[in-house]
Symmetry: D3
Amino acid sequence: MISDDWRGDAILKGLLAEDLGRGDVTTNATIPAGVPVRGRIVARTRLVEAGLDVARATFSLLDPNLTWEGDPREGRWAEAGDSLTVLGGDARAILSAERVALNLLQRMCGIATATRAFVDAVEGTGCRILDTRKTAPGLRVFDRRAVAAGGGKNHRFGLDDGILIKDNHLAVAGSAREAVARAKRSASALLKIEVEVENEEQLREALASGADALLIDNRTPAELAALVKVARSIRRDVPLEASGGIRLDNVRAYAETGVNFVSIGALTHSVVAADISLELDIA
Amino acid sequence: MISDDWRGDAILKGLLAEDLGRGDVTTNATIPAGVPVRGRIVARTRLVEAGLDVARATFSLLDPNLTWEGDPREGRWAEAGDSLTVLGGDARAILSAERVALNLLQRMCGIATATRAFVDAVEGTGCRILDTRKTAPGLRVFDRRAVAAGGGKNHRFGLDDGILIKDNHLAVAGSAREAVARAKRSASALLKIEVEVENEEQLREALASGADALLIDNRTPAELAALVKVARSIRRDVPLEASGGIRLDNVRAYAETGVNFVSIGALTHSVVAADISLELDIA
Amino acid sequence: MISDDWRGDAILKGLLAEDLGRGDVTTNATIPAGVPVRGRIVARTRLVEAGLDVARATFSLLDPNLTWEGDPREGRWAEAGDSLTVLGGDARAILSAERVALNLLQRMCGIATATRAFVDAVEGTGCRILDTRKTAPGLRVFDRRAVAAGGGKNHRFGLDDGILIKDNHLAVAGSAREAVARAKRSASALLKIEVEVENEEQLREALASGADALLIDNRTPAELAALVKVARSIRRDVPLEASGGIRLDNVRAYAETGVNFVSIGALTHSVVAADISLELDIA
Amino acid sequence: MISDDWRGDAILKGLLAEDLGRGDVTTNATIPAGVPVRGRIVARTRLVEAGLDVARATFSLLDPNLTWEGDPREGRWAEAGDSLTVLGGDARAILSAERVALNLLQRMCGIATATRAFVDAVEGTGCRILDTRKTAPGLRVFDRRAVAAGGGKNHRFGLDDGILIKDNHLAVAGSAREAVARAKRSASALLKIEVEVENEEQLREALASGADALLIDNRTPAELAALVKVARSIRRDVPLEASGGIRLDNVRAYAETGVNFVSIGALTHSVVAADISLELDIA
Amino acid sequence: MISDDWRGDAILKGLLAEDLGRGDVTTNATIPAGVPVRGRIVARTRLVEAGLDVARATFSLLDPNLTWEGDPREGRWAEAGDSLTVLGGDARAILSAERVALNLLQRMCGIATATRAFVDAVEGTGCRILDTRKTAPGLRVFDRRAVAAGGGKNHRFGLDDGILIKDNHLAVAGSAREAVARAKRSASALLKIEVEVENEEQLREALASGADALLIDNRTPAELAALVKVARSIRRDVPLEASGGIRLDNVRAYAETGVNFVSIGALTHSVVAADISLELDIA
Amino acid sequence: MISDDWRGDAILKGLLAEDLGRGDVTTNATIPAGVPVRGRIVARTRLVEAGLDVARATFSLLDPNLTWEGDPREGRWAEAGDSLTVLGGDARAILSAERVALNLLQRMCGIATATRAFVDAVEGTGCRILDTRKTAPGLRVFDRRAVAAGGGKNHRFGLDDGILIKDNHLAVAGSAREAVARAKRSASALLKIEVEVENEEQLREALASGADALLIDNRTPAELAALVKVARSIRRDVPLEASGGIRLDNVRAYAETGVNFVSIGALTHSVVAADISLELDIA
């Protein structure tokens, strides 16, 4: 089982089912039952490790007796050519699970590596890199773990474990005052209420309404800095998040405005898969 | 329902469940039940359309009375600023489904746009662009549709609807001769048998074994051209597929070797999401 | 569908399955297909209405053409003898769904009525009545709706949408300081952190650690009042919740200590079902 | 697994899912992986034990290596302060499963304790206490086990494993004669047919129709005694069940009429949870 | 939906999934979306109709707007060449569902036709033909309906809605007396207890133990007749069932012994599919 | 787990659920928990073994500690009276799983035995016996394994792993040329395209269109021989399959026409269950 996520096996079983369908006809036809193999999972480019436990759990679903060597190094750098793990088990199981396991692992390492670049870029500012809900549908649990492995911080998981009142909510509700009041009335008392704002007027109204945090969207670093100053003057410790148009080449400027968080959709919506392969040890 | 895929609604329900969890607390708290809204889905960059029907089906699961205007334009270019559709329905439903619908749509349009670039690059060569099984786990049905919308051709869906004997199978089975013989014996007679080869010796053995098609992996265009020549001299019409290290800047050279197909993992493992937004019409 | 809960139908289908199993042999044997009936759901004692929409959705799963008359009166008093609704539909469907629908309705009205008694008891104090996770397993969504209908406020839904660090967590983690620090580091930024305390030392440490809210457990009203005073002197607006040994006959004393919330497990763990029956109109 | 119920684990997994949702954020944040703990489940009031195996199975789903000490004492009295079991295992697993396990256990012990009171009240009369289908939806398997632990006898499980023709069936079918004839014709030959009656005429008709058992509803003890006499004069050994308005203070009078069974909805629709807690042994 | 079986659609969806898998590649490739067709389902041999509603529900799952003409004739003879129905709808849906629908229909008509032969063979004896649990796993609901359509009577559905104490139970339990006593103690009071016997001693013990019905297995008609006589002399109206070695050519001899039921496993374990085809009307 | 089919356990769990429902009331009532038994599965007629691993997996789902002796003999003859296996385990588990396990085993041995008869009948001709999709819905995976055990070859599993353009597809598509062209365009390149033909004109068109294989339906052996000759003259090695009206008494004549395959629906649509019983060793 994947540590921390009791739902992991059920999710992975569904993902294996997508690829296996009625069964791996190639492997079942060409490989006899019960042949043991050993192999290595190898990084072919420099990457931040993430998801080795997910890959292991995937293989283990088809071979419960899988062996797996190597200390967990979640979040650490691996160099091109490094073995991420040495695994052993039934040849059929390993070949049938290979693609799903690698697809997950390559995506997760890709996300972690990209996240780390952003984290490094804001080092020393105190600003944290947040993920968003712009994940590959169905893979959020893995995308989030990869962001965390890369040093990022997770935003809410979904629509049910955090309140984020966005522009469209405000437009339909009529005002931040009304929207926040409704949220305070009906939602659980343990959920913070974050409100999206784009300018000073909205920011002042949101704070006056009792918002617990603010998301400031689509501002230049200079505009953002000005809004941060206003917000801090009203409530010194209010958590502030910036989003919109933030890239690796400008993230430090955003971070230096004093916001607590910048959130980056591209971490998970535009992933470059890390290059990783499974190499069997066959003489 | 999504045309052609009778499983679509069940898959989409699962993807909505990931995001909605116990329910959209923000929307349920701030938006009254029964408020109608209208809005547009807008391309913010030039893109090849794919997955509008998937987005529609996603919204429809939360609002069965959704309205949706605009002709289907799957596979056609949209320009930055174009409305991809005009939709109308219950505000709660539309806001709660928005993120999942857009996550899917942005990914699919991203894949279709990238695929089209490859297709255009090989225009006139007769070579087709194939996808691979390197899809985001759980999203293969959508990733494949997007590749097709971009003008690509789909490879096998999973491990059960095609036989592809790869290097690892060959290594465990001992020889192509043995592996192909086993596959012919036990697999369904309606599945073709494709064998992965890297050099002339393997190629000759695979063809002699009765392989129906060959995958030639990790060759330079020149090496590939030589192998293609050998293969055609043995069996003129054998389908040949090239893979490994093929990028937009070298794909034409590969295509011009005379292979029937080049397969590109990056189409689906390293997607750049298209920039698309939902804009509500609220006065 | 039940408004606000998109999962409702799936849950209700499971609950019907429990009772129906392979099918209602009595009804299928004795009642011909297609016989229409009308009937009334009648309160046999004074009660606060809750869950009429749940009952309706239950019947509707077996008869999609069910008719249902009467304005929704969720949260309002009904007197003994009042018709809560007039329904009509297929006799087989109504008789087969009756028990599940009434079991849910009687439980929900029972919870709402009990909650209302607590809410009335603290009227004017500003203190809100909270539910707990001590619900009937599988029925939390309904138990919570009933508490809300009775005027109570819902606490977190489950273990994933709020952080409540209890005595056992503190004992294993070593200290409130350490536990809160860990929670701040790894959990989503939109979840508040509530810490359970039993005395002034714990209370001071929890507030110093940055807890967002406190749960004060197992104190007499006098002890509680003293702790509230200390807490308010440190952070004026920190949300405070009292629990443990609070009954209808002493809840007002607890509420008058100035806590924001009292939580009452018995609202949902020891429910007295309201007496409600389905009376068919058959001459 | 719970003995006797092969479906138990699947049901419990669903109940854990309700509470855990995306995972126990508090425990995962504050408790390191792999910390062992021991603890005791303690009765805080006198109670009849029921459901310890259910609680154990619940904890075991999150920690398959759970230890559990103490002989099974299903159906026996425990005194306030007694340890019902001593358990040990992974701290995260135990804390995450605690609430669901205790919610089930407290309900089941509450039901068993109440059932025992009724059973004791009719001791020596030969009359058995029956449960009804007025259970908490989704928990019937547990509610029934608790009734049995308290010395009660289980009625049919659901609508598919017994035929009980009630007043509404009779009204729609037209007559007991017609309804019983239909049931005999179409239902399985291994199901008994019980008919609900309220007066002598109905009772005579039901017996003449070939009913295998009678449910006599809503009579005073005196009225019931008269009907029992009539029934016994017609068919000496026909099983007779009484229901309606039977409470702990009048159940003996009903039992002394000579009925074989009295059924008590309140055993399961209005449960008072037993007071039980989990106390970890932490120095 | 199939009348009488609320679970029908879910079961049929699973059966369609088995055949459709990822989708009907032939039909989706060769038939455009939205082409209407009409066709007839035609009997190619004389048969007893059963399962037309099941076939209809199967097609309807893929085309909710299916048209279906012809009165229901469940249980009646159709001659070779008769149209069982005229249906119309979307060509893709009809072609994709055809095989599953016909597989079910051919099996059900085959079962009904065979059952009718047995029913006709015992006409006038008062003996009823029973099915058994020797059905095709997963298809019991359909196999039973077909038996009923053929004029047979259904035995218990499964292991949970009837008590049948067989030789193996008796062997492990030690005696019929003990086994029946245990069943009376713990099982629901609405389930009859049937005991399997092979000779007079067992028969007498079973009746003395309070068995509600007897299954007499593996006797010749003459042996059976003698046992029936004994049983009737002890309890005149005890239901008696014969099984074992009963075929169409000897069933009347068994029926004339005076047993109430003979049960025939071959009705469902060795089905001869009726010959039925779908003929599209295409000029 | 069943070798080769990773979905086996989930399917078997569903089939057990059908029979067990809420649980085996007879066994649970009459057999104490934890009683060990041993027994033998015995062939009562001569048969070809198939499905012993399926039976074992079925029992194992209820008793994970089941013992099972005897070498696998899939596809070999067993004589009447032979023990197919000796098994041991928990009495309750074995009795509760018995019927489902035997139902599957008897069907699979019946199919394998019938298949072997056809295989033997065509011995020496080089023609292979194929199954069809005319299986018992839900049991295709087992029906196919049994055909293979009997020496037959499996056709496509379902509608998604092979393209078979039948008369109805041709009729709607307009022509074989058009249908094959569409299939080549949109379907995966690893699926062969088989076209159904009934006469020489259709045969010539199908081959000219690029069909990979032909199904020749409903011809006499003589007609078939003529068509085979034509086909071979056009493309020497095109796979040819015959179907329609082929029985054990004429299959050799069909095989001798030179077709590669004959497909026999009756192998799976009209199964005669092999006679097999479970005999417990009870002194």
